[in-house]
Amino acid sequence: MSAHQQFADDLALLALGTLQGDERVALEKHMEGCPACRRELERLRGDTALLALSASGPKPPQRSRERLLKAIAQEPRAKKIPARRSSSNFKPWLAAVAFLLLAGFFWRQSDRLAQRVAQLQDESVQQQAQLERAREVVSTLTSTDAMRVTLVAAQTPPQPQGKAIYVRERASLIFLASNLVSLPPQKAYELWLIR
């Protein structure tokens, strides 16, 4: 007996929805690798569906129709789907053209973005170098270990000296002083900035 013959009777029961337990499990497992049995099950489902036509009897009462139509009128539809003429209007070539156009558009966009990223990277490197130079200058000016030498003409005694560097727009001020005379207690040098 072939596998198909062994399962033939069970296929009919499965089509009727009455096959249960181990027999159902075994048949479903067999069908996973058996297209012939899957096709036969589909045909048997069609045969089974025909049995509905053997039922006969009175027509449903008029109240059933009224009940249904009333329920439908009261039932909010979550979403009304606009009617389409036919699903055959779908044109695969149109989808392919749209896909190619989109692909081209994204490729160009991607190319432009790559150029912009490279430009920004260059700018970033230059700014980083400028920042390093500025840090070096500030570090030298403010370092406590820095030697400060003022060159003057020979035999000139040391003169008190103060230098203020001020950038108004940035409200930034650097004050450098040398050879200032020591002040008595409660006295202090003052630097006034009048804007």
């Binding site: 009919a12 025909l50 049995l51 509905a52 039922a55 009897g57 449903p60 606009p82 009617a83």
Partner: protein, 170 residues
């Protein structure tokens, strides 16, 4: 399939037309399974409401609406008879049959063929097939009820369906 599209777009008139076309079939199946008019009316209501709420569950490309409604009705009625929760999702039901159930004359001819095929079967075969279809009995339950061997019941059911197919292939 314009009726189904009408229902998908929320057209109540399309639903009324569809009801007028298939309600007799749906009610007959529900009444045959449940044997009680009130319960059959409830199943009738439930089946059409399911279609109204979820028209996408029926895929017109994979089957025929009349046959699909027949299967849904039978499954719901059997669930009701056996007092169990619905076991099948209506969207999983795919059934394709030869006769065009939308056409009243063709549906009527198909009904005659099916009834003729059942009348032509040996009594035990027809009975086993009807117990499985209209009562939802398993072959084990049919065997227990009739006192026949399990294998015999299985073979009768399959032979009955084959006989039905032959009538439509002729």
């Amino acid at each position: 399939m314009s009726l189904v599209w009408g229902i998908r777009s929320g057209d109540e008139g399309a639903m009324a037309t569809l009801y007028d076309r298939y309600s007799s079939l749906v009610y007959a199946v529900a009444l045959r399974v449940l044997g009680e008019t009130g319960a059959a009316e409830d199943v009738l209501q439930e089946v059409f409401m399911q279609l109204w709420r979820n028209p996408a569950a029926f895929d017109s490309g994979r089957g025929n609406l009349g046959a699909w409604l027949g299967v849904i009705t039978r499954n719901r009625a059997i669930d009701g008879l056996r007092k169990r929760r619905p076991e099948t999702d209506i969207a999983d039901v795919v059934v394709s049959v030869e006769p065009d159930m939308a056409d009243a004359a063709e549906r009527s001819r198909a009904m005659e063929k099916v009834r003729g095929a059942l009348v032509g079967m040996p009594e035990a075969q027809r009975s086993a097939l009807e117990m499985a279809y209209f009562e939802g009995l398993t072959h084990t339950e049919i065997a227990a009820k009739t006192g026949e061997p399990l294998g015999t019941i299985k073979t009768r059911i399959r032979a009955g369906l084959q006989a039905l197919r032959k009538v439509f292939e002729a």
